[in-house]
Amino acid sequence: MNVIYFAWVRERIGLPQETVQTDAATVNDLIAELCAREDRYAAAFADTSALRVALDQELSSFDAPLAGVREVAFFPPMTGG
């Protein structure tokens, strides 16, 4: 699964994207797995209310299932316009 990070999430984790081998059932499960790996993930995901997630480029929720998903993106609330 391709995992992408933007803005300060990218900066805290220290890379723009990575391939993750996971059996995580939901976005929340994936976050728990990543946080267990290294502190920089725990720092980036400390407050998920300050984060947004997109599954295959569609805004989604943190309890959404990951079955069939190829691309997960984490980022702060958007500031377009």
Binding site: F6, A7, A73, P76, P77, M78, T79, G80
Partner: protein, 146 residues
């Protein structure tokens, strides 16, 4: 309907003149141009990051919804990414309609949704360092108007 996501500068005036050019079935054209604002007088540069692929599809989705909700002859959205200087145009929206209310409302709607639903992130570079621009609660609340 035209959606462009680009690093290159654009000329808002030239875009406005080209938009809905020669149409005689419209009575109203509204444009919005977003400009890099130097709030405290110390901004060196604004850096805009985006999510290639999702950006285009999210904007097209928003523009399509505008076309479905209002009687529009045409819609234009241009949004830049990368480094921008203070005073530079960041993005622009234009709407054309037979009537002014539809053109105004659709442009206002597009801006509210682009603000909170198009995957862009802004970083301000000043002499003191770099800061990510935080989303405002008011911008999220603005979506409830529609």
């Amino acid at each position: 309907m035209t959606v462009r996501v680009q690093a290159e500068p654009f000329d808002a005036g030239a875009e406005l003149d080209a938009f809905a050019q020669g149409r005689t079935d419209i009575g109203a054209v509204v444009s919005f141009t977003g400009v890099v604002r130097d709030t405290k007088g110390d901004l060196q540069e604004m850096l805009i990051e985006h999510y290639p692929g999702m950006t285009e599809s999210a904007i097209s989705k928003i523009a399509t919804e505008a076309v479905q909700r209002w009687d529009l002859a045409d819609v234009l959205v241009i949004h830049r990414y990368g480094p921008l200087a203070p005073g530079a145009p960041i993005m622009m929206v234009a709407t054309a309609s037979a009537h002014r209310a539809a053109a105004f409302e659709a442009a206002d709607f597009l801006m509210d949704y682009l603000k909170s639903r198009a995957p862009f992130w802004k970083k301000e570079i000043t002499g003191d360092g770099a800061t990510w621009v935080a989303a405002k609660d008011a911008d999220e609340d603005a979506l409830k108007r529609w």
